[in-house]
């Protein structure tokens, strides 16, 4: 083979580059053409939009009658947590905010009093009358003193335990276990005494129906343990020993009842014993008297979720829907933990005794 005397290194490199460029351009064109040519109707099916019967529409329940509003939103407090999880108030209106793997205590004026570092995400907490802070983690309880020093770390409370709430009263600690759908009764040091409320347990209780991990409880000044039974759409009262006493609540999309498959997801009580309930799906925070009768709205869907798309994006872990944890202070203000905006939203009564 005779060498081309006119072909030098520069020409060779130049010709190779042109050849490779053409090969690539051809390849790209071929690849794109394969991806396009077989579906001439792509995006052009030209079918009419679905009949309204095929559209899920609850918009008529998302508007709140202004005459029912008893509270107004006044301010908001940033939690500082990328993933806030729970809220409680106690000890001279100290606000406790749980999130990520810690709990912050803020004074009435908003000053940081202490921070508790944890090994897991806090699920719930409650400050007790004797100056202790009980924190429920996913599978065990921890007890702290009023300065944030740990007094006790409990053992895991059993198989498949998923704690979602904690309360204290009558020399007992009560933990709501959404994993096993029962309430765990412990002594003041967190040792398990009994469990009750599991469906089919034949312990004289109706049985807790907990389809999603929202299962709240609260010990009242009336000496009763109030437990949300979300699948039955009601709040139930028990003696500290776990005996079923009474219940209230009804199923309804209308504002008077509890909506969806499983509500309320959170509740708390005002100083005079009235109930404040929080629902998911149709996010609503409502007021009920001491007998459970609906008396008004703290905040409706249109107030709580102003931008649903923003809420969905911001609340990446909320694939099961999200509810607002609620707490009340001594001035009857209702504080709601907004997992989408990562803030605590403060609602104050429109009139005294509202």
């Amino acid at each position: 083979m005779k060498n081309d005397p006119k072909l030098n290194r520069r020409k060779f490199v130049s010709n190779s580059a042109i050849g490779l460029g053409l090969l690539s351009a051809g390849g790209l064109a071929g690849w794109l053409a394969t991806g396009r040519k077989n579906n001439p109707v792509a995006g052009k099916t030209n079918r009419p939009a679905l009949d309204p019967r095929f559209t899920y529409d609850v918009s008529r329940f998302e508007r709140t009658d202004p005459a029912l509003l008893r509270y107004s939103e006044r301010s908001s407090i940033p939690t500082g947590f990328p993933d806030p999880s729970c809220l409680a108030i106690g000890w001279d209106d100290t606000t406790f905010i749980g999130g990520d793997q810690s709990v912050k205590a803020l004074s009435r004026d908003g000053d940081l009093q202490f921070t508790v570092s944890l090994t897991q995400r806090p699920q719930a907490m409650v400050p007790t009358a004797d100056g202790r802070l009980l924190i429920a983690l996913p599978d065990h309880l921890e007890i702290y003193d009023h300065s944030g020093r740990r007094l006790m770390k409990g053992e895991p409370l059993g198989e498949r335990v998923r704690l979602t709430s904690v309360a204290a009263g009558g020399h007992h600690i009560f933990a709501a276990d959404a994993g096993n759908r029962e309430v765990i009764r412990c002594d003041a040091n967190g040792r398990v005494i009994a469990r009750f409320g599991r469906v089919g347990a034949k312990d004289g209780t109706p049985g807790f129906v907990v389809p999603s991990p929202y299962f709240d409880l609260c010990y009242g000044a009336d000496g009763l343990l109030w437990v949300a039974n979300p699948g039955r759409h009601r709040l139930e009262a028990y003696t500290p020993e776990g005996q079923f006493e009474l219940s209230w609540g009804s199923t309804s999309m209308a504002v008077e009842g509890f909506c969806g498959c499983c509500n309320p997801v959170h509740f708390t009580r005002l100083a005079d014993g009235r109930f404040v309930t929080s629902e998911k799906g149709l996010n609503r925070i409502k007021l009920h008297d001491v007998k459970g009768n609906f008396t008004g709205v703290v905040a409706g869907t249109e107030t709580l979720v102003k931008d649903l798309d923003l809420a969905r994006k911001a609340c990446a872990n909320c694939s099961i829907g999200f509810g607002f944890d609620v707490a009340c202070d001594s001035r009857d203000r209702v504080l709601a933990l907004d997992p989408a905006t990562k803030t605590i939203r403060v609602f104050t009564p429109n009139t005294a005794g509202a």
Binding site: I18, G19, L22, L23, S24, A25, G26, G27, L28, A29, G30, W31, L32, A33, T34, G35, R36, K37, N38, N39, V41, A42, G43, K44, T45, R47, P48, A49, L50, D51, R53, F54, T55, Y56, D57, F61, V199, G207, V209, V210, P211, S212, G231, R232, T251, S252, M253, A254, C259, G260, C261, C262, K280, G281, L282, A316, N317, S319, I320, G321
Partner: protein, 182 residues
């Protein structure tokens, strides 16, 4: 540069371009053969367009149910109208316009919900109800016993949430599960 050089260069260039085109087309076809279209249920916004945009007369998109996520609710918001007059299987209380969701008693107070696939049109009405109030165990998937695997999926083009992607053909479904929440 004389005429002969020009013709020779052009011929070589054309051959390279053609060879590239053939290689690209083969690669593209191989890619399409080894992948299928699927909906990411965590990105889906239940807009309802899966029911109308598929090239098939009856969409290849169907509702599927992840039983490990289901709460087996008595009042399933994917099954019942938003404000049913009773929690029974009367037609006026059912959410699905085609009656494709079937409710059966398990034990008090739990009920199981299954999908009658031939009746499902993929409108996502039940998916929206379940996702809004419940655990989101009902979700949409492209069923590959029906899907013709168009090179350019009509539904993917129309999807406002960009929730439809190509996935490996040996793992053609993206079912929801308790483990994956995001």
């Amino acid at each position: 540069m004389n005429r002969r050089n020009f013709l020779s260069g052009s011929l070589r260039g054309s051959l390279m371009l053609a060879l590239g085109g053939v290689l690209g087309a083969v690669t593209g076809r191989a890619r399409a053969r080894n992948t299928v279209w699927q909906i990411d249920p965590f990105q889906c916004t239940q807009c309802g367009r899966c029911a109308t945009e598929c090239v098939l007369e009856l969409s290849a998109v169907k509702c599927v149910h992840s039983f490990d996520m289901c709460g087996y609710c008595q009042l399933c918001t994917g099954y019942f109208e938003p404000d049913p007059n009773k929690l029974n299987t009367a037609a006026e209380n059912q959410l699905c316009p085609t009656g494709a969701l079937v409710r059966s008693f398990v034990e008090d107070p739990y009920y199981e919900y299954t999908i009658n696939e031939p009746l499902c049109v993929g409108c996502a009405k039940c998916v929206k109800g379940c996702t809004m109030f419940g655990n989101g165990s009902l979700h949409l998937q492209i069923r590959h016993d029906r899907c013709v695997n168009c090179n350019e999926c009509s539904i993917a083009r129309a999807c406002p949430a960009d929730a439809i992607h190509r996935v490996p053909a040996d793992r053609p479904y993206q079912f929801k599960s308790r483990e994956r929440k995001t």
